[in-house]
Structures are given as C-alpha cells and as structure tokens.
Amino acid sequence: MAAAQLDIRRMTIIRHTIYVLVAAAVIVPYLLEVPLPFRPSSSSRKLFDVIEQLEPGSHELLSFDYAPDAETELYPMSMALLRHCFKKDLIPVVMTHWPDGVGMCKKACEEATAESQQLWGKETVSGKDFAFLGFKPGGGDLLFNMGENFKGAFPKDYYDQPTADMAALKGVDSLRDIDLAIDLAAGATVRMWIAYGSDRFDFPLGVGATAVIAPKLYHFLQSKQLVGFLGGLRGAADYEIMLDYDELFETPGVATRGMQAQSVTHVLLIILIVAANARFIANRLGGRQEV
C-alpha cells in the first residue's frame, strides 16, 4: 500500500515535471527569439504558385471551415491568403460551413481590410473588392447548390447586402466560375469539398489543414484532386516566408515565430521518448521489468 502510494506520488511528480518542461520549451523561445531559417515545403509552394499565376480580378473562394480551437494554425493561414489576394488584386469570396467559424471569418476579413490601405495603398470594400458570405448549413448539399446557383445559395452576404448584383460576385453564377477554391479545414470538410465540389464542378481546389488531418491528404495531392496544401503551423509559416513578411512587416510572421517554439518542444519530446526507450531497451536486455 505504501509502495503504491509512493508510486502514485512519483508518477505525479514526473507528470508535473514534464508539464513544466513543455511550458518552458514553449515560453523561452518567445523570450529569447533565436531565428531558425527554413525553406518552404514543396506542397506549400505548389499552392502559392497556383495563386501567383491567377490574373487580377480572378475569384478565389476561401472556405474557413474551422472553429476557434484551430485558430493558432489556421488563422495565420487565413490572413496570409487574404493578404495575398489583396496584394494581387484577386477577389476573395469568404464563407464557412461551420457556424463557429463565422467569428474567425469576420475577424480575418475586417483585419485584412483595415490594413489594406497601409500595406497595398488601396482601400478594400466589402461587396466590391471582396465578398463575405458567412455561414450556411448543408455541407455537401450546400456545395451542390453553389455549383448550380451560387447566388441562390447565398442570397445575401453576412452584412445583408444582396448578392444578385454584387460587384465582387460579377460573373460568378456557379462554382464552375470560381478560379480557385481553398478550404481551410480542421475536420472532414476537405473530403466533402473534393467529392461534392471540385470533382463535380471542375474547379481547382487547394487546402490549408490542421496538422492533425494533414497526413490524410497526401493521396488527394498525388491524385491531383488537390492543387496544393498547407499543413499545420508549418504550412502557415511557409506561406508567410513566401509572402515576404520580413519585408512587409519588418518582423517575422506569427506562424514563423511559432516555429521556433515548435522546434524546441519537438526536440524536447524526441529526447524524452528516446531516453525512455533507451531505458526500456536496457532493462529488457538486462532481464529487468520496467518500473
């Protein structure tokens, strides 16, 4: 009984020590700021290049299908994509399949437009330079709807402006008229966009995904059902590098800064796992039970 109590206390101490180490591994890089250069990955570059090749006035549909719990990874991607659109005079059309995502969309659109004058020397006006459509339920059925009658699926935008004569949606009657769609996904919406969207209505689709679902997207990239994808915080950081945040803002982007903390925590975890396994293997070779 006493041994069991000691064991529980020992495990609790180990657990709390690991928590403190992880917290320190995240906090210290933010305070010390050690730059760690890196090159954008090929999948991120593919998506960036597709957007770079779009002509001014092209419509880019951005579906921010995530809730606040994915904010750290996908919000920097949202901002980077919107900034890229305004830089190249593309027309972003922002929507979401998640009701929790409306707040994220609104924040991103309003921040990107607020800084537009200072960054790009032009004002961006909702309804003219971009459209914020908001949320509609329906999932795959909504995509079918948008594919046949885009403005019928969204008769008004988030600010209650009718879409029928909206300048930002001129020439967009169906998903077929979209030049590129990007789904920023924290869940199963990627497969839905592929099956009910791009494969049915033949438009190029890119994805920005959380790291948790990113491994399940490589086969769509290989089958060319996706034109490119950004995976996790690293994907957002890749995009910030490619957009030259250093030059634009004189500081690294939010995701790029985050990669420093990510590096340190990953190394910490690798050391912990390797050390634990080294002890395990040594015990096994010595014929001892792991305690």
């Binding site: 180990i14 657990r15 690991i18 928590y19 180490l21 992880v22 760690l36 250069p37 890196f38 090159r39 990955s41 809730a67 606040p68 719990d69 904010e71 750290t72 929790d100 707040g103 609104k106 309003e110 607020a114 909702s126 509609k136 339920p137 329906g138 059925d141 909504l142 079918f144 709807n145 046949e148 009658n149 019928g152 699926a153 988030y158 600010y159 209650d160 491994p215 399940k216 490589y218 086969h219 290989q222 690293r234 990669m259 990510q262 590096s263 340190v264 925590t265 990953h266 190394v267 910490l268 975890l269 690798i270 912990l272 796992i273 390797v274 634990a276 396994n277 395990f280 293997i281 792991e290």
Partner: protein
Amino acid sequence: MWYKRTIPLLMVFFIGLLGFAHNYVPHPLSVSFRERMTTWLRIIFGFALFIGAYSLLHMHVTRIRRRQAGWAYSAFVFLGAAAMIVAGLWNDGFGPLESPAKGVSTWFDWGYDYIQVPCSATIFSILAFFMASAAFRTFRARNVGAALLLVAALLVMFGRVPISETIGGWLGESQIFPAIADAIMEYPNLAATRGILLGMSLGAISQSLRILFGIERSYMGAGD
C-alpha cells in the same frame, strides 16, 4: 402502422434512388430536381440545430432538478447561453432582424472573442501536455510494429521543424531530414491512408445500400 413505418421506408428508397440516378441524367429536369432538393435540405438543416440545443439544455435541467453531482455548475451553461442569446438578439440596438454594420464590434462579438475563443483554444491546448506525458510514459518499442511506429514518428516530428534544417546543415545537407519526412509521408503513409480510404469508402457504399433497402433503420428512432 403503415404511415409510421412503411411510407418513410419507401421515401428513403425512392429519394435515394433518385439521388443516385440523377447523376447519370444530364437533362435540365434532373439538374433542377437536385437544386430543389438541396435547397430544401438547406432549410431543413436550419431547424436541426434546435434538437441539439434542446437535448443539451434538457440534460442540464435534469441535472439541476435531480441535484446530481456537479448540478450547480449547470447554472453557468444557462448563464452563458442566455447572455449570448440576449446580446445576439439585441445586437447593439440593431435588433434580431438586421445584421450589424460593417466594422462595428458588438457585445455578441465580444462574447465570442473573449470567452468562446480562449476557452475553446485552451481546452484543446491542454492535450499538448497530456500527449507529452503519455508519450514519455507509454511510448515504447515493444515489438517490430511499435518500433516502426516510433521511428516514423520521431523522423516526421524532427523533419517538420526548422531546427532539422539547421542541424542538417551542420552535417552537410540541410534538406536531408525534411526530405526523409516527406518521403515517409509521400510513400508508406500515402499508401496506408489510401488503403484506409478505399476500405472506408467500400464500407460507406455498403452502409448506404443497407439504408436504401431498409435493412439499416436506426435513423427512424425508437419504436422500430
């Protein structure tokens, strides 16, 4: 009774058959049928939320009424929901029938930005600590499969962070570790996830057929 069971089952079969067959019929009638169905479903889904909301609130009301363990905390659920609903309907004076003006930040938005966002983000970020602790205590290479899992995990974890390029540079090739991580993702991982997707898809088709033919009836609810 036939109108409680037979007609819904027949509906499922015929609507499902039309849902499948219309993809092969390029006639304008088929296209307009799909548009009508999807518009109807968009409206119906708007009502579906209230079932979830009622269930959740009913659960907390029951907890309070029966004085179950932790019943007092359920009051915070009602407090939070009431505050957001009142703020949303009042809408900073715009009322429930208008959208707020562009650029205006309402108290409804304030509740989302300063209560929902931090709580939602933090609850999931706690998993990072649990994951680190669990990985240290239980992640062991006990056999070949576990060793493969461990090695793949370590290589991917290392290859995806910038420090791997710095360390690779010291060893003579900065892109070696990212290239290894990419190779793991683009070959064995791709193969396995494709296999899983194919298997899942075959299962989904089989399940859909069971639904269409009335073998699978759990959606009908209790009483059948």
